[in-house]
Each structure stands twice: as C-alpha cells, then as structure tokens.
Amino acid sequence: MSAPVLELSGLSKRFGAVQANADVDLSLGRGEVLALLGENGAGKTTLMNMLFGHYLPDAGHIRVDDGQGLRDLPLGHPQAALSAGIGMVHQHFTLAENLSALDNILLGVGSLLSRRKRGGAARAHVEDVMARSGLQVALDTRVSRLTVGERQRVEILKALVRNTRILVLDEPTAVLTPQEADSLFANLHQLAVDGLSVIFISHKLREVLAFSDRIAVLRHGRKVGEIATAEADERRIARLMVGAEAPQVERAPMDPGAPVLELSGIRCEAASARDRLSDVSLTVHAREIVGIAGVSGNGQAALAAVISGLRAPDAGEIRVGGALPARHTPAALIRAGVGRIPEDRHHDGVVGSMSVAENLILERLDGPDVQRRGFLRRRQIDAAAIAAVEEFDIRGPGPDAPVRLLSGGNMQKMILARVFRAAPKLILANQPTRGLDLGAAAEVGRRLVAACGDGAGVLLISEDLDELIALSDRILVMVDGRLTEAPRRDRTEIGLMMAGAAA
C-alpha cells in the first residue's frame, strides 16, 4: 500500500443502547479503492458519517493528509471535512431538483454574493472534470428530469469539482441497473489511477471482488477483518460478514400442524426492486417458525405488505388457515387470523399520542369487550390494559400514558400484547428485534417461541442471521423478490445466497 492519505483510529459511536461503532481503525492509501462491507446495521454508514462530520464520534481520531503529511481533522464539522478534500456521496441524493445539474455542482463554490456561474471558467472546469473522469451529464438539464444514474454522476461531480482527494460512496449501486453500476466502477477505477482514493460501501460480493483493491468487513460495529481483494474469495468474505460463531440457542422442534398461511405464485409488479415479488410460494404451518433471510430491499417489504393486507398482489393466491380471506384488506386479514408486528413500529405500529390502553384495542374496535353500541367500555378496556402491562412487563408511566413515552423495547412488548391477545393463527414478525437491546430482543424471541407452542405459525422476517438460525425451523432466502429455501442452516451458505451468489 502506498502512503496513507487517511487514517481512522479508535472511532466509536453509541446511539442510546446501540453501539453503532466500536474502536474502528481504518487506513486508506492514495489511489486505493477500499470496499467497506457488512450487513445492514453493521455500522458502515455511521462510520462514514463520522468521517464526513455529520456525527461527532464518542472517541477516536481522524487524520487526513493535507499535502504536508497527516493532520488531525476537526471532528463533527462537514465544512472541515470538505476543505480537507473529503467528498461524500450519500445513499439518498442531496440534490436540489429544481436546479440544473450545473447549478447543483457549483452550489456553494465561491462567494454567495458573486454572480451565478453559468459559463466561462467555472463551466470549463466542470467540463474538464467530466472529460477526465468520464462522468458525462447534460449540465443544463434540470435534475428532476435526470435518471437515477445521471443524478448519481452529478453527485460525484459535485465532489470532484471541489478537488476531492478522498471520495466516499454510500451504497452507490443500490439504485443502479447492473450496466450503470459497471460503468460507474469503470469511471471510479480511472479516477483512482489518477490518484483519487475511494471508499465505497456495499454488501454485494460480486462488485466488491471485481472493483476494490482492499476489503474491510464490519460486523456489529466492529472491524472484523481486512483482506487484500486479490487474496479474497466469496466464501471467506461471507464468513467474515455474517460471523462464524455457533448459533446460541437451538430450539426444540415441534410437530408442525395444519398450514396456517399458504402463498402460491404471488407476484407484485413495481418499479423498484424493494417492492417487487416474483412468483413467491410459501407455506407456514401451525407450531412452526419460518425465517426469511435477506439483505433489506429485496422484496421483504412487499411480502409483508401482501400478508398484512396492505397491498393486493397482481397475481397469486393467499390462504389464511386454509381459507381465502373475504377481501384483501388489512381488516379482513386481521379477522382471518393474521397478527402483525410491523417493521417500523413507530410509524406503522402505534399511534404515539394515544395511550397504551387505546393502542391495545386499535385492531379490534368492534370487539364486544371494547364497545357496546358504539360506546367504549372504559372499565373493561382499562382492566385489560392493566392485565397486559402486567403480563408483558410493559414498563413505562402506566396504561394511561401516551405510547410515544415508551422505550422501543416496551413499545414492541405493547405490540406483542396486542397481537397475542387476539390469538392469531399466523404471526407476521417483520424485523421484530430491530433497534432493541439484547434483553428486549431475547424477550421478543421467547414470546414468539411461546406463541408458536400455543399453536400459531410464525413468519419471521429478519436481517439478523443469528436470530433467524436460533429461532427458525426453516429458513428461506429472499433475493430480488424471489424466495429460495436454504438447503442447510449454515451461515456461510446463507450469507452467500443473500449476496446473490449461486448456492
């Protein structure tokens, strides 16, 4: 490796109960392309946001070469990172769509009181950068009329015209077609040859192996490995990514009963891959936990939306407890016996300003124990809420307090109480432990296993392989809107399948 232009040492960051990064060291050479690899939530984006000054690290140093050797970078100031020559291309573009590509590229270059730069030297400079990098865009077109690939080129050009020497790209290919991705990497390679140092975040093994010089792998916020790409192979990286420790708790298998959920040939058309399903068939039996593994954005959201009734599939059939639901609406599916633990509990799971007691009855407002002739039966509702708080150990100010005051773990317990009280045939658990600390996550797992013992079937969608392997009877892997049964409960094998390599 050539002389380093960037050194991160001992970077740590904690958000509440979650340790997003712990003691990460990383260095980058001039003209080097480094791939930062890891599962969702491994801490890649947090690390890069600390580098760029969006987050203030709890501990650690960043040193950047400013031409005369490595110097400490003031932490927590994007402006300092920019002037040190660090450019970042965020996963969500930071472009003003009402401006032309050129205006976006030159935004903030020079004094605000100067004339708008539309021609002359500024434009010539941008055109020169375009020619050298091979990143071509129509400069006078409004960004709202550009394709996603073109917008990304604008983002990169934005960084390059500011004499960026270190370019950070957060999942640059997540939104691109394979052809666009290939041409992007060809351009980046050219820029690296000219001396630009590049860090790109990805979880696609193929592009990491094809286009990087070195690979650093993060897992649970720590750097768990670093390999020169020339010495790496898919199997070795996959093992680093998902970890090699033995699954913690093996669950005693139970006798599966009758099918509670049968999907056959479900198809959903959509523009983006995250909402697409192609020919998904799946059966969940009573007393069985079926796990869905996969990198997020591969169709899990669409699958959950179909099963919870939020979205009608374009083709295919769904049966709950052996029967077709009367209509494909959330209400009909709840009545048919689907209990839902939504992915985003704050957004889809609770009404924050309403009390715990009120949230507990939200899905069954017409129940005889909830209302009589349209009037709420407050005493029954309150008694049931007190019982639920007791049984599920929902800690907080009490059943009358607004739900938004509860911590994430207690909010999730409240949702579990709501789901379980309806005695569902099928429980759809979408990322049920995301953002929870270990204790709360274990509690959720125990409850799911217990519900399963009581005769429910559970469909568990998760990105956490440890959790899936510990809890599931069977695991299916979702890639690009398709489900494939994992042949073995082997984390390396599943990791490879998740990354799109043939199993």
């Binding site: 969006h54 987050y55 994007p78 402006q79 920019l82 002037s83 970042m88 965020h90 969500h92 930071t94 472009l95 003003a96 769509e97 009402n98 401006l99 205006d103 976006n104 030159l106 935004l107 903030g108 270059v109 020079g110 004094s111 605000l112 009181l113 100067s114 004339r115 708008r116 730069k117 934005k158």
Partner: protein, 314 residues
C-alpha cells in the same frame, strides 16, 4: 360595451391599476422570497399593518419620508426574525407561527398608534410621497400619466421586481436560496448554512411586505387608520401561487388584480344603478380565485415548503 372599452382605454384606469398593484407587488415579492427558501410567512397581513403604522409614525414624528420607509422595512424585518426563529431553528408549525405573527404585529401596531396618539379622533395627516413629475416623459400621451406620474414607491416596487429576479436567477445566492427551498440537505452537504439562508430570506421578504404597508400610509393615503390593510396580505399569499414563485409573473399577477380592482370602481359608476355595489366589491376576489385555479394547476411548489429541517438529522 362601449363603456367598458372606454374604461379599458383610459389612462386614468391604468394609472389606478398600477397604483393599486404597488402594495401587492411588494407583498407578493416578499412572500415569494420567503417561500422560495421553504418558509410560508402568514405573518404578512400583520407585517403590512406594522409597516404602514411604523412608516407613517416616523414621518409624523418628523422624520424625512425615506427614513420612514427604512423604519417600516426594519419593523418588517424584525417581525420576520420572530417568525424565522420560531419556524427555522425551532421548526414550529409555519401556519401557526405566521398567524401568531399577524396577530402580534397588528396588535403592536394599533397599540403603538394609540399610545402615541391617545386623544385624536380623526387620523392626523402627513405629507405623503408626491407623484414624480418627470419632465418630457410625463407629458407623453397615455404612457406619461400611467407610468411617469406615479410616486417614488411605485418605482421602488418595480425596481424590487428586477432586484429579486436578479438575485434569484443571476447570483450564487439565488441558486442557494432556491436549493434550500427544494432540498435543504443539498445546501448542508455543500457546507452552506440552511438556517442562515432561511432566516435571511424570511427577514428580507418581511421587509418587502412592510414596504407594501408603508405605501398605503405614505403614498396612497396620508394617514394611518384601523383596518386599512384589509386583506391585501392574504391576496399576496394567493398571488404567489398564481405567479409560480417567479418575480416576473408576480408583477403580472399584482397588475391583474390591480386592474380588476380599478375596473370595478369605474364600472360601478357606469352601471351602478342596476347592480348592488357589493357585487363589484367581490369581483376582483372572484376573478383572482378563477385566475388562481387556472394558473395554479400543476404549480411547481418548492418541495421543502413547510418542512422544517434540523441539523444532524438525515
């Protein structure tokens, strides 16, 4: 029919249209500037009142006319600062804060007026801006009376149209302002201050709104009285949409409204005997609503309008 045509062709009609449009030009430019940065400023109605009162009071207390104009602009910028602090760094509801500023500014203006003049019954008069009688040009047929016999504040309003257009379209500052109203993250990622741009835009816009008020007491009339703003601020909020947030179209919208208003006054004297007067008073507003419906369909809102932005959250 001949009556209507003779109204439309008379120079006094067009002179009146431009005069009526002047406060609206100031107001619509001010609202446009605020909204381009992503902040709706419903304080406009109250800021009109505050500007009208401040400018008039300064002159009544002995200040020269232009110092009165400056005082009005500063008062407007001050109320703009209140709205900006509440809505930009604190991120409160722009509707609620704006209506609050309208009530606050109106009450403060009336209170100050009453405190300064506890015993007067008929509003005292000042010597307002006089029509600029430009030699030669004022004597041109038609164009002379319409354009060259207006007061200096009307010319200031027309100058502001050009100034706002120039800043928005020909300066780096304008590019940054338009960007912050579309996607504040874009501005932040380039190391510019989202808060600074928005607070500045709201203060500058509010100062323009106050000039609209000052025109009423210092040019159109020569005294301050209660209820004189009479919804002109709200009309500006509608005209911004009609103008699709463009200064040139803002001028057009204000002139159109001024023309409706001048037209109804004249029509009333022609055919007033047959139709109740209230119908004519309604006419400009109804025509504005129709114009708005036609023009605002598919309006290209600044995408970040009404959305607060907080540093460090993405």
């Amino acid at each position: 029919m001949a009556d209507i045509l003779s109204i439309l062709l008379s120079d006094s009609f067009w002179a009146a249209a431009l005069r009526i449009a002047t406060p609206l030009i100031f107001g619509v430019l001010g609202a446009l500037l605020c909204e381009r940065s992503g902040v709706l400023n419903l304080g406009i109605e109250g800021i009109f009142v505050a500007g009208a009162m401040t400018g008039w009071l300064a002159v009544w207390m002995g200040a020269p006319l232009w110092l009165g104009v400056l005082a009005a602009a500063l008062a407007g910028a001050g109320f703009g600062l209140i709205h900006a602090i509440l809505t930009v760094p604190l991120g409160l509801s722009q509707h609620v804060s704006g209506l609050g500023v309208t009530m606050l500014a109106t009450s403060v203006a009336y209170f100050t007026y009453r405190t300064a003049l506890p015993d007067v019954t008929s509003p005292p008069r000042i010597t307002p801006f006089q029509p600029l009688d430009i030699p030669l040009l004022s004597d041109l047929p038609f164009v002379g009376p319409v354009l060259f016999q207006q007061t200096a504040l009307t010319w200031l309003a027309l100058g502001c149209v050009f100034l706002v257009w120039y800043v928005l379209n020909r300066m780096s500052l304008g590019v940054a302002l338009r960007a912050v109203g579309d996607n504040p993250d874009a501005v932040d990622a380039q190391g510019l201050s989202v808060y600074g741009l928005r607070i500045g835009a709201v203060m500058a816009g509010s100062a323009l709104m106050a000039l609209g008020g000052a025109f009423l007491t210092m040019s159109a009339f020569d005294a301050f009285f209660f209820g004189m703003v009479n919804g002109r601020g709200w009309i500006c909020i509608a005209l911004v949409i009609f103008a699709s947030w463009r200064p040139g179209k803002a001028l057009l919208g204000a002139l159109l409204f001024g023309a409706f208003d001048a037209f109804q006054v004249r029509l009333q004297t022609e055919v007033g005997a047959m139709v109740p007067g209230q119908v004519f008073l309604m006419a400009p507003y109804i025509l504005s609503i129709i114009a708005l419906v036609v023009a605002a369909r598919g309006a290209d809102y600044p995408r970040a309008l009404l959305t607060p932005w907080f540093k460090g959250q993405r």
